[in-house]
Symmetry: D2
Subunit: 202 residues, 4 copies
């Protein structure tokens, strides 16, 4: 059994149920969270933005992994933002800063980033990516999690326009197998496209 | 717009919403229904069993396509069985017979079948397949829709043991794209394995 | 065993191996072909265009199903076009016309269509859709099979701009299960998005 | 660009192309590797077995992450085993031991394990799991990567029989998006089921 007051593992993958979620209907699911953090490639001291952080699941995991880094969780929705703080406390995370607001505006005052994770962009992924590019250090990495056709199409186009290096796109289609009576039943999850790239520079 | 009193198409694929469903939570979704009927390969005069027919969506489509054939919809659950009749009436189908009961017992009195579709087996897929084999004409085809690991494993093993010909197995993983505000969002459906085979004989 | 000189079934789903393919590397796979024909909804007398017909697998199946209709297979690549004729002969199809050329230009002389299937558009899906709209009868149906992000994005946008009715988009992700020694191994196929809509009118 | 002589990231996810592969046709793909390591949950000092290690991609990543631990890569195929050593050298890994042999026999002399990853079992997953259970420390975790129906079915059944805790099963279906000319094309990968569980204990 996991004692959530000390998630003692060095790999991502906190089960969904260990996060406070309250009445918030959405969360980035465990498997998507794992692959997002893997594809964005953390270092121990990474400065990370989690834009559209929701209830903070990706930000929490990033903060636990990048122990000497700093994670900025940007979330405009007040109830979700409150749950981020609840989850940070629950997991004993103290290198996470909650930014109550919306990208791109909310990014203005933040220090430059090593890693930018765009989980939600409120339909403004193009502007958010522009702002992200301005904030990204050389050889920094940015990832977009796209759950709509529009975000996928825009992100793919913008990544090319931004001249990012090592662009990599995949779609993650997870089936969970759940016990239902005596049988183990297949449950499809919503697919998510991950688009990741790296800024050039020395 | 579809006028459901005359589904006038010669291909499977009645949209889910055109079926009466009442409070029944489950139905075989359009895309799975289509591929099930395609893989089992109907003729105009096929005698078809739909075992574990649920609310009858596969049986109705089979009956509409195999106009000169006869479809036996076998369903043990009384409320679901009632909806089958409602759907048969709704689509003007009169070559469908409702068999209130459970396979394998309920198959005893039925005429031999050209096609047997096993949508639900109440965890008894092995016995149901045995009974199906006894009822299947030469060059008849049988298909299992498996939504659990157990049914998949048993069906694959039994198809080999039964000496069926042309055994073909696939998994159908459908994502629907739904309008949500201004965006088109990806919605994962539950995957279904289809295992189909053909009886030998002249 | 299927005798391909008389595909005697009333449902789509000819196995891939029964088509002549020669050295042509691509073909629309059985399951995608089935669902394309189901979603576009054939009538017995439909006039169908298959644009970017490749080696003709969809066109052949459409012609076999719509026995009293007429199928125009539009293909610009000469070797592929030659295989279409070979397949038409193989399956005894005589209500298929090969149009050697490229859409939209090649559509100019054709009679109006009940159904338009766009399997390939050479990256010109926007123009092809415009031309398709001009050729589509009222309550006609058009479907795009998208295997790239660009075609998916353009088709989704154009379908909305064209004011089509009953627009429906899904992604088909098929896993085939293949015998490999004693085991049945999972083989992923390439996913295909299907975008279908209907023209308004009386 | 990644300098493979110093993979400096604290998350899994070395791109496939950075591994020596020689003529070996199979490798655990990046996304599957990531999720396998996440689901098995490493600690900095974990003792890990990688059974059926192939060319060693999972073992290498595990060794890089669990810096103070020890990884035993068990592989019976001599050419693959040779590539493991090549990859260990390439990534500067020195906490990896190659065990040339086959599970369960090859496990006899190994120290107890915190984590057991069964990537390949040569069709003997039941015996391998028995042996794994005997070697697993309390609160140790074991994961099976199943690419066949048979391994999936056996693993699911054995995990229940072994009384493992926190059993979790999912299927990972990855689509990669590849540049092809001007377009980004969807390429389906082979799905893999991951079955993971934890041994009970004080």
């Amino acid at each position: 059994m996991v004692d959530i007051n000390k998630w003692e593992f060095i790999t991502p993958g906190i089960p969904d149920i260990y996060f406070a979620q309250d009445n918030n209907p959405n969360m980035t699911k465990e498997e998507v969270r794992c692959l997002t953090l893997c594809k964005v490639r953390l270092k121990i001291d990474s400065v990370v933005y989690d834009i559209g952080a929701g209830i903070g699941t990706i930000a929490i995991e990033a903060a636990l992994l990048a122990k000497e880094g700093l994670v900025f969780a940007v979330e405009k929705n007040p109830p979700a933002a409150a749950i981020i703080l609840k989850n940070a406390k629950k997991f004993g995370v103290n290198n996470l800063r909650l930014i109550r607001g919306e990208a791109p505006e909310a990014l203005a005052e933040l220090p430059l980033a090593d890693r930018i994770i765009i989980g939600g962009s409120g339909g403004r992924v193009k502007e958010v990516l522009s702002a992200a590019q301005a904030k990204l250090k050389p050889q920094g990495r940015v990832i977009v999690n796209a759950i709509t056709v529009e975000t996928l199409a825009t992100a793919v186009k913008q990544f090319a326009a931004m001249g990012l290096d090592e662009v990599n796109t995949c779609c993650l289609n997870i089936t969970r197998v759940k016990q239902a009576g005596r049988a183990k039943i297949f449950k499809g999850m919503n697919p998510v496209f991950l688009i990741v790239g790296e800024s050039r520079g020395k």
